[in-house]
Symmetry: C2
Subunit: 197 residues, 2 copies
DNA sequence: AAATATTTGGAATGATCGTTCCAAATATTG
DNA sequence: CAATATTTGGAACGATCATTCCAAATATTT
């Protein structure tokens, strides 16, 4: 009996995400959203509820995509030290090839909204724990295999990696220069080597 | 012949900075600005030009204050490794004591505006170079004194420090926990030690 | 004290904000 | 093909946006 939805929901989320990612929550208007997605105002409100709900959907869409890419590395690269290096090289590649200098949507959203929006704050905390768990698991794996020293706790190393990642995404907004970013990860990841591993 | 300005300009900048810092550029309205500063609309426009100009003044006011605090450490603490550690401990203290979870105004501004506002982008780049020069000078000083190893270039170490600092200010917005932040700086600053210094 | 130059408060501006609403369009069901 | 349930486009909503404007207030100078 019902008329079906004509638009591709994932396509709308992808386009909406791109816009929010580029201009932020407050910097994006519903008018721009209709132009970016091709949907009319009523369709957006009917299908997603409103600006805030659409944003949350886009943010989760983004995070899910990012996590997928990160987890994909674990399957492709066995040695953890190489895997971690590859993850950061991936980030650098993202930064230097993005002409809009969007940075990381989660970082952008955190600095803009976390102290003003509880729902967003919850997602940020959830993502932080998720990312740190992934890094922690990797490091434990590397320590067990002898690829990473055991002088520092895996949780602490993981937090440092996550922190470095956030920093890079901020840094790249101002200076998306490959050599500079690679210098940073070389120093930041040097904590995984030596120290009597 | 002229009637003098009645308000304290620095006071206005301080209050304006606090508001922009808390809610961001797009998240702050002129109406809120009048309430926060106590000035009327016309006084703000008359004295500062407009929202964007006032914001730029506030941003520079903030950066000047921050740089002053940082440079002050160089006079108080001779040994560079201790000085750097103190700088990061200072940052942690700022983060955990700020009930508004404002983070760093420059980081917030970078993620929100740098890819959309050339004037802000210029200030961000200027501040980045400034901070990195300070850290580079410190590290050179520490290397000369034998407090820091010379296996890594001072410029690269400095960029890593700046990157870690930005990361912390983002991290603290979501999780302003002293122990966690101290774990991060312990790992991040471990690159200054050992490695055959 | 009068004249002058500047600041000030508050109303008014047009534009844009997110949201609502409704009639027209449309795909599925009987 | 008719009935139905849903989506759709676009107008309209009140609220708020940054900004402008002007008369009233005020401190200095003459």
């Amino acid at each position: 009996m019902p008329k079906e939805v004509l638009f591709d929901e994932e396509d709308v989320l992808r386009r909406g995400t791109e816009l929010f990612w580029t201009k932020g929550y407050n910097g994006t208007s519903m008018d721009e959203l209709t132009r970016a997605t091709g949907l009319s105002r009523s369709s957006i409100y009917n299908s997603f509820g409103g600006k805030h709900e659409l944003f949350m959907r886009c943010l989760r869409y983004y995070l899910n995509d990012q996590e997928g890419q990160l987890r994909g590395l674990a399957d492709k690269i066995r040695h953890v030290d190489q895997r971690i290096r590859a993850a950061f090289q991936y980030a650098v590649e993202d930064i230097v090839t993005d002409r809009m200098r969007k940075g990381c949507m989660m970082v952008n959203t955190t600095t803009e909204m976390v102290n003003q929006d509880k729902e967003i704050a919850a997602v940020a905390a959830e993502n932080m724990e998720n990312m740190e768990r992934i890094f922690t698991d990797w490091i434990k794996e590397g320590q067990a295999a002898g690829d990473i020293h055991t002088k520092l706790a895996p949780q602490a190393l993981a937090k440092h990696l996550f922190n470095t990642y956030s920093g890079l995404k901020v840094y790249g907004k101002t200076r998306p220069d490959r050599k500079t970013l690679e210098d940073i990860i070389t120093v930041a990841l040097s904590v995984l080597e030596g120290q009597g591993a």
